[in-house]
């Protein structure tokens, strides 16, 4: 049931992406309004699906350990947030994109930017639904049972999503740079949006790394152990720290910053996917 609903949301995002594209091509304000409305509806449905899966997951888990105290139930609710395997992380990642874009871009979310966001969310959902990813709810292993799980995963994935938005902006910037098109957003706006998404992503990724370190210290007695996923998140963090500082150096503006945004996103992708599939480590339960 939930997977069918998710499929519908995926198609809705696809439609929204095309609507935004049409709005850009014909410079139509009403198409833009319609696309935004549908985007909001899609996000609402997506949110409901996440909550339903959360409920299911909580229900399954409370079958393993019947609880009476309210505080124990609350803790189980926190632990059972639907973000503990690869499938759930894809669905949550897909949710973060429209959520962040609507929250932070507001009026800037139109035309091609809207297309980029909606198609990004659609692609992630398509991978989750059609990519042969195991969608079963699995019980949590003991190391994952920590109050830090929720905040760690939420900050990391919102951070990834912010960087993904930044990547979309950087690509548009580079396209504008090669051949200026009046239909695309002006470069000054793209530059500002790239900086804004980088700031948000950097803040969230920093929080994600910190909460992960505190958690690892509590679970294994090591706040840092050079596990591949950890190391790649540090690489990502270093690249975006470079971006923030490079803006302050003369001669590092515009195009080079956009390229750093692209490079940072490659590191994000590798942190999220590459490490799970190519390098073994502490985080390998994700696959």
């Amino acid at each position: 049931m939930l997977s069918q609903a998710l499929g519908a949301v995926m198609l809705l995002y696809l439609g929204v992406g095309l609507l935004f594209l049409a709005a850009g091509l014909w410079a139509s304000a009403s198409l833009n309004r319609l696309a935004r409305l549908l985007f909001g509806a899609g996000l609402a449905a997506h949110t409901a699906i996440l909550l339903a899966r959360w409920w299911q997951s909580y229900h399954l888990a409370s079958g393993h350990q019947p609880l009476t105290l309210f505080s124990e139930k609350l803790r189980l609710v926190v632990l059972q947030a639907p973000m503990s395997n690869f499938y759930e992380s894809l669905v949550f990642f897909a949710w973060c994109l429209p959520f962040l874009a609507i929250l932070t871009w507001r009026r800037d979310l139109h035309d091609y930017l809207g297309t980029v966001v909606a198609l990004g969310a659609c692609l992630l959902l398509a991978y989750a639904s059609l990519g042969g990813v195991d969608s079963r709810i699995k019980p949590l292993m003991p190391a994952l049972k920590s109050n830090w799980l929720l905040i760690h995963v939420v900050t990391c994935f919102l951070g990834y999503a912010a960087f993904t938005l930044g990547f979309g902006v950087a690509i548009l910037y580079l396209a504008q740079e090669r051949r200026s098109r009046p239909s695309l957003p002006p470069r000054s706006q793209l530059d500002r949006l790239l900086y804004q998404t980088t700031i948000i992503g950097f803040l969230l990724l920093t929080l994600g790394i910190l909460t992960g370190a505190v958690w690892a210290e509590q679970a294994w007695g090591r706040y840092w152990s050079w596990d591949p996923k950890e190391t790649w998140s540090l690489i990502t963090w270093l690249i975006y720290a470079t971006l923030l500082h490079a803006r302050l150096v003369k001669g590092w503006q515009g195009r080079r910053i956009a390229w750093l945004g692209v490079l940072g996103f490659v590191a994000v992708l590798f942190t999220y996917l590459g490490v799970s599939f190519l390098l073994p480590g502490l985080h390998s339960y994700l696959t």
Partner: protein
């Protein structure tokens, strides 16, 4: 004479390099590249000169930036925003109101609505209303940089003054020392740790995923029990300056493994002492119990058997207590496992790290630092009122924000519109 001049020039050039953001950008990229190489199969790289040298340089770079910029940032953050400073802000617009307008009250009202409660000062002919926010912004990046220095320092302190190892506890054998990470080195604890009980629970029907495992521990000092505690994953125990983390567990047989052998309808039992070769009666085949598991992939208790039909390399097979049908025959023998007596041992990670406090201090300092740097841009506005020709009110809107140009310009624009409409 000339050497001292060139010396001081050299020093200042060096200092210039050390405080430059160009160096920062370079070092951050180098560190990223070396870290990438490290994940491609050189995990030891992070403790070699290739990583530590750029990291050390980055620490120097950070410290130099702090020394260079922090005093000025502190001074700027400490200096209150005054009417005189407001007058020096660049002009953003003008307006003119009729003489009968209650201008001071109206200006105050508009500023309060659009920004926040302004302050007021009379300087000669002029009345200045001014409002500023984000005074602490200059401290933000320095908080972040100081936090990073603290974290790096914490790492160094932990490396040099920390102790890290593991301890393997079995019921009935008290632990008195930890095995350090360097192979073969042990460190006496100065007290005893006793494993009273080890428990593991599995999820039902989940292929053997453990739901919880825990060690009930007693700490003994000079023969007397001083503390009892439960050590669980994500729930460590502190005693005697060390922290004990439930890392993993394993199983040992609680006696010899009992095998049931069937050969052409003839049954017989055989005892296998753990990890010793035993010859199967009336054959060349040798077997050895090498591993026991409490729950092998959700199939229940199991023993791993090494066997060799004669000289040569041994082969391995699993015997399942609850699923004798899954056990392959060994030559003429069919094998079954009598109920296993298992004993768990518990592996605890043990640590003493005086650097963790520094690292956590750095984490805590990072948060306000990032908040100030990113979300509290310095923004200042002022409205200057003056009586002009025919007693009309002549006003000027001033303002500046070195960063966050966009939000500043949008606010300023709204303010100007309100002011220009205001008198009418």
């Amino acid at each position: 004479m000339s050497t001292s001049i060139s010396n001081s020039r050299l020093t200042s050039r060096l200092w210039g390099q050390l405080t430059s953001i160009r160096l920062t950008v370079f070092l951050l990229l180098i560190l990223a590249v070396v870290a990438v190489v490290g994940t491609l199969g050189f995990p030891g790289l992070y403790y070699t000169i290739w990583f530590l040298a750029p990291l050390g340089l980055l620490a120097l770079n950070l410290l130099a930036c702090l020394v260079e910029g922090l005093p000025q940032a502190l001074k700027r953050a400490a200096r209150p925003f005054t009417g005189e400073m407001a007058l020096a802000l660049p002009e953003r617009g003008r307006f003119s109101w009729p003489a009968e307008t209650a201008a001071p009250a109206l200006v105050e009202e508009i500023l309060r609505r659009e920004l926040g409660r302004p302050r007021h000062q009379i300087l000669g002919e002029e009345q200045v209303f001014f409002y500023g926010r984000g005074r602490l912004r200059p401290l933000g990046p320095y908080c972040v940089h100081l936090a990073l220095v603290l974290i790096l320092a914490g790492g160094v302190v932990g490396k040099f003054w920390g102790i890290e190892g593991r301890i393997l506890l079995q019921p009935g054998i008290d632990g008195s020392s930890i095995e350090l990470d360097q192979p073969g080195r042990k460190l006496p604890l100065g007290f005893l740790v006793r494993l009273e009980k080890f428990q593991v629970r599995y999820y039902e029907g989940s292929g053997g995923t453990p739901q919880e495992f825990r060690s009930d521990l007693t700490f003994l000092q000079d023969g007397a029990a001083v503390k009892q505690a439960v050590c669980r994953v994500n729930d460590p125990v502190v005693f005697g300056g060390y922290t004990f983390y439930q890392a993993s567990y394993g199983t040992l047989p609680g006696g010899p493994v009992q095998l049931e052998l069937t050969r052409e309808d003839q049954r017989q039992s055989l005892e296998l002492p753990f990890r010793r070769w035993v010859q199967l009666p009336g054959s060349e085949i040798q077997v050895m119990a090498v591993r026991v598991e409490g729950n092998l992939q959700g199939l229940g208790p199991a023993v791993q058997l090494a066997y060799r039909p004669g000289p040569g390399h041994p082969q391995f097979a699993w015997l399942l207590q609850k699923h004798p049908e899954k056990v392959k025959p060994l030559g003429p023998f069919r094998l079954a496992l009598a109920p296993l007596k298992l004993e768990y041992y518990s592996v605890l990670q043990v640590k003493h790290d005086p650097g963790v406090g520094w690292v956590y201090g750095g984490f805590l300092l990072l948060l306000p630092g990032l908040y100030l740097a990113f979300f509290r841009p310095t923004q200042r506005w002022a409205v200057v009122l003056q009586k002009g020709r025919k007693d009309r009110w002549e006003g000027r809107l001033l303002g500046a924000s070195p960063r966050s140009r966009e939000t500043f310009l949008a606010r300023t624009e709204r303010l100007r519109e309100r002011l220009q409409r205001g008198g009418a």
